[in-house]
């Protein structure tokens, strides 16, 4: 059993403490917006916020997430109101297949919190998610738009 605080709600989960946080979020908490892409911290599809920082949840054990505030893609929008990043994503028509985009948006949201006006170099350094559809050109435009919004 583990108590996880996800999107402001406490979940009592029947889960082995050595389970990757990704799978506890997807399978026990039932929040499937966070995606599995590689399982070895390479692709970023599983990115969530833990204690306000972007982490790749496939390589975080549940036991290390206990007691921390976890935010997933489902926890960003308040009702129908999107965050600036999500809105910029809509305005710039960013996603193609969309599978990487939850992780991308979580990584970008953390970047903008740390650096509200990131330069291209900041983006290059912080955003290392893989997108096989190749949405990077729109991702960069949308990050700058979100920073201005």
């Amino acid at each position: 059993m583990a108590k996880l605080t996800i999107n402001g709600r406490v979940h009592d989960l029947d889960v082995d403490p050595q389970t990757p946080l990704l799978w506890a979020i997807r399978e026990q908490a039932g929040l499937t917006g966070t995606k599995y892409g590689c399982g070895i911290a390479q692709c970023g599809a599983c990115t969530v916020h833990m204690g306000g920082e972007a982490v790749r949840s496939c390589t975080v054990f549940v036991e290390d997430a206990v007691g921390k505030e976890i935010t997933t893609i489902e926890g960003l929008a308040q009702g129908a109101t999107l965050t600036k990043v999500q809105q910029a994503w809509v305005d710039h028509d960013v996603p193609q297949c969309g599978y990487c985009q939850a992780g991308m948006i979580m990584a970008v949201s953390a970047l903008l919190k740390a650096k509200p006006k990131p330069t291209d170099a900041d983006i290059d350094e912080a955003i290392t998610n893989i997108c096989r559809c190749g949405t990077f050109q729109q991702v960069r435009e949308a990050i700058h738009a979100a920073a201005k919004a």
């Binding site: 996603p95 955003i127 960069r140």
Partner: protein, 731 residues
């Protein structure tokens, strides 16, 4: 609608109750009237593509799949253009392949590959919209007792011009559905298009930015269990035995099963439990005799093919061999392209539920009908007892169309637990090991010049794997052993026709197949062919001191559309003028999938030649007609990410009969820092040529343009992919 449809109503109702398919169709005979086909909410169908609800919502049904390319948005534009409905009131649905089959394949081809999603369905889809509009206007005219010619229609409202009376689509849909289908369905002149050609935003974005879109991996069904699988890593190998004693006792594990003769799966409450338990199953595989195959042994076989006597001729004219023998000057080079994996972000998966008289599968698929065929054969049930619910794909790139191995596996597992839905998800490692790989190919090119430095002869000898020999052997048989697809971009005319006119030409293929299963990988054979021909064109031009653009122009004078895209990128990058300090340009072009594409790359290279920065790529594409320029722009830029990742970073190598690279740590993919600025020029030439594709053609021009620019920067010719193996990386 007079069409008499004989169909089991119960089947569709069951379909309606299931997750993953929004579509359900019921049929009813309204008292006294002709047959009206109805959606399960009772709304009338005007034809297979268009259902109109009383609140004016237009439901557009599409057989093709959405896997990221914006295909569904583009297809909806085609329907809306002719239907004249309100764009903000549309919604889309997938019919199931079983429903289509039961109605005599009314939705036609489900296959979403070969860049065919739009180009091979635009006509009947537009006709679906036009026919529905004609019936709606007729119904309104009937109600007013006026001739149709006195009515106009816009944004879902029909107006009787002289009296000013109006009716909404939702108000006349019932009456319209009872009318005869029009026999003649004229389509608009392209110059009158208002929706086609517009850079409309995609209709499926909100779900994707909020995490709400349900992918195959996210599916939840009542009572569902999860499965992880491991197949023989040596292709063609079989399970000899397995020891599940440790796994069966692990938490959540329900069953350990053999799947077919080559794989073992663990079924558990959660996927993570299944995967963890699978790691503890000891499987003894019989390698089937392929464990000795390695990249080196394959390379040796390909090398032999480069000079073999027997080869299939894909394109020729004149007498290339004689002309080369008598040439005043000869140039020769050998290129290589490796196996590569599609690696879509979403690993292969499928969910199956099997009972003795029914089998249903939920799957992200590029071809619902191919999935259905797999379900039928794996379940042993009849077509009427099976169906497939399509789910939007987390990337496809050719892996999820012709190949339905994961569907077969899911059904084979579900058959061993009847009644229980089983969701099978592959690990990334399984996905990398069990690909359907980009074919491996070597190419030797020899060019000959006369004494005045005119190119008089070219021989291109391809040596390597055939996709069709493995996947569509009947086509190879029809062609007396030849795989015509090998010659994409090099063929004698057609949608993949060779653009250069060379007096003595021979392009032939020594087929050298391996035990590694090949597949259609975005762009298919143009990836290697464009590198081979377009890099060698630069080599030829340089060998006689000619400008690379001028050299091509002379050879392309019979193909103005090829020339037009090449000229467009050359002009925009400023070819012929000196580039900025430290920057270098390279060009490439191709015709593929009936579209014309070209690229001009601008790069810089570190002093030691090891680090390449691709600053920008100008890309021209002529798809004949452009349905949505904003989405085409995204396909161009996205295809370059896929193509440049392949050029610099990706190879699947073979050791002991298995694929070595098992995840993104050894099979890297481009990140945002490496992304060049992509400036696309969309230049549809229109007219009566067949429509060209968009998702694939442009992918092939990025790599040769960059390689050609690299030569300009360093004087060094790169002839083998991936460049990381030549110690050249992208920064």
């Amino acid at each position: 609608m007079n069409e008499i449809v004989s169909i089991d109503r119960r089947k569709f109702i069951i379909g309606a109750a299931t997750v993953g398919s929004g579509l359900a169709i019921g049929f009813s005979l309204p008292e006294g009237g002709p047959t009206v086909v109805r959606a399960n909410d009772g709304s009338p169908e005007l034809n297979a593509w268009v259902v109109i609800r009383p609140d004016d919502t237009v439901v557009i049904r599409m057989a093709r799949s959405e896997m990221g390319q914006g295909t569904i948005t583009g297809l909806a534009q085609l329907v809306v253009e002719e239907l004249e409905c309100d764009w903000s009131k549309i919604t889309t649905e997938y019919p199931t392949p079983g429903q289509s089959l039961a109605r005599n394949r009314v939705w036609k081809d489900f296959s979403t590959g070969g860049s065919r999603g739009i180009r091979t369905s635009h006509e009947y889809v537009r006709q679906g919209g036009a026919a529905a509009r004609m019936m709606l206007v007729q119904a309104a005219a009937n109600q007013w007792s006026v001739p149709v010619s006195e009515c106009t229609v816009a944004k879902g409202v029909i107006t009787h011009t002289s009296s000013g009376r109006t009716l909404r689509f939702g108000q006349v849909a019932e009456a319209a559905a009872k009318l005869e289908q029009p026999k003649e369905i004229p389509l608009k002149d392209p110059k009158d298009w208002k929706v086609i050609g517009q850079p409309i935003k995609r209709i499926d974005t909100l779900e994707k930015v909020t995490g709400k879109q349900v992918y195959g991996t996210d599916l939840k069904l009542p009572g569902m269990l999860n499965a992880a699988i491991r197949e023989s890593p040596v292709f063609g190998g079989k399970v000899k035995s397995f020891d599940a004693s440790k796994a069966t006792g692990m938490k959540g594990v329900r069953k350990v099963v053999q799947v077919g003769d080559s794989a073992v799966a663990v079924v558990a409450d959660t996927w993570w439990q299944a995967k963890s338990a699978l790691d503890e199953v000891k499987i003894d595989f019989d390698d089937g005799g392929n464990a000795k195959v390695s990249s080196a042994s394959i390379a040796k076989m390909l090398e032999e093919g480069l000079s073999a006597d027997q080869a299939f001729v894909g394109n020729d004219n004149g007498d290339a061999k004689a002309a080369l023998a008598g040439a005043a000057k000869k140039v020769e080079a050998t290129y290589f392209y490796p196996f590569q994996n599609h690696a879509p972000m979403e690993p292969m998966n499928a969910t199956a539920r099997y009972t003795a008289d029914k089998c249903e599968v939920w799957v992200p698929t590029q071809d619902g009908e191919a999935s259905l065929a797999a379900v039928i054969s794996a379940s042993g049930l009849t077509a009427a007892q099976c169906d497939v619910h399509k789910i939007n794909l987390g990337g496809g790139f050719g892996r999820r169309g012709a190949f339905q191995d994961y569907v077969v596996q899911a059904v084979q597992i579900a058959k061993q637990m009847p009644g229980t839905p089983i969701k099978l998800i592959w690990t990334r490692e399984e996905d990398m090991r069990q690909g359907r790989f980009h074919p491996i190919m070597s190419c030797k090119l020899v060019g000959g010049f006369d004494a005045n430095n005119n190119l008089t002869a070219l021989h291109m000898r391809l040596s390597g794997q055939s996709i069709l020999a493995a996947v569509r052997p009947a086509i190879v048989q029809q062609n007396k052993g030849m795989d015509p697809l090998v010659f994409q971009g090099l063929a004698r005319g057609g949608e993949h026709g060779f653009g250069y006119t060379i007096p003595n030409l021979l392009i032939d293929h020594a087929m050298r197949n391996t035990h590694v299963p090949p597949g259609f990988w975005r762009g298919v054979n143009i990836n290697q062919n464009c590198i081979f021909i377009e890099c060698f064109m630069d080599e030829l031009a340089q060998s006689v001191g000619q400008d690379e653009l001028e050299f091509r122009r002379k050879l392309l004078d019979k193909h103005p559309k090829n020339l037009a895209v090449l000229n467009a990128v050359a002009e925009k990058i400023g070819w012929g003028k000196p580039p900025p300090q430290g920057r270098f340009y390279g060009l490439a072009h191709m015709k593929a999938f009936a579209a014309y594409v070209a690229a001009a790359a601008e790069i810089s290279v570190s002093a030691d030649g090891k680090k390449v920065k691709v600053h920008r790529i100008i890309a021209a594409t002529d798809p004949i007609y452009a349905v949505n320029p904003a989405q085409i722009d995204r396909q161009v830029a996205g295809s370059f990410v896929y193509g440049l990742s392949a050029l610099f970073q990706q190879a699947c190598t073979v050791k002991d009969g298995c694929i070595v690279e098992e995840n993104f740590d050894t099979y890297d993919s481009m990140r945002i820092a490496q992304m060049p600025k992509v400036e696309s020029i969309i230049m549809p030439s229109g007219g009566s040529d067949p429509w060209g594709g968009v998702g694939e053609p442009t992918i092939c021009v990025a790599a040769p343009a960059v390689i050609n620019a690299y030569f300009k920067a360093t004087g060094k010719r790169l002839r083998s992919v991936p460049l990381k193996d030549l110690d050249v990386s992208m920064v």
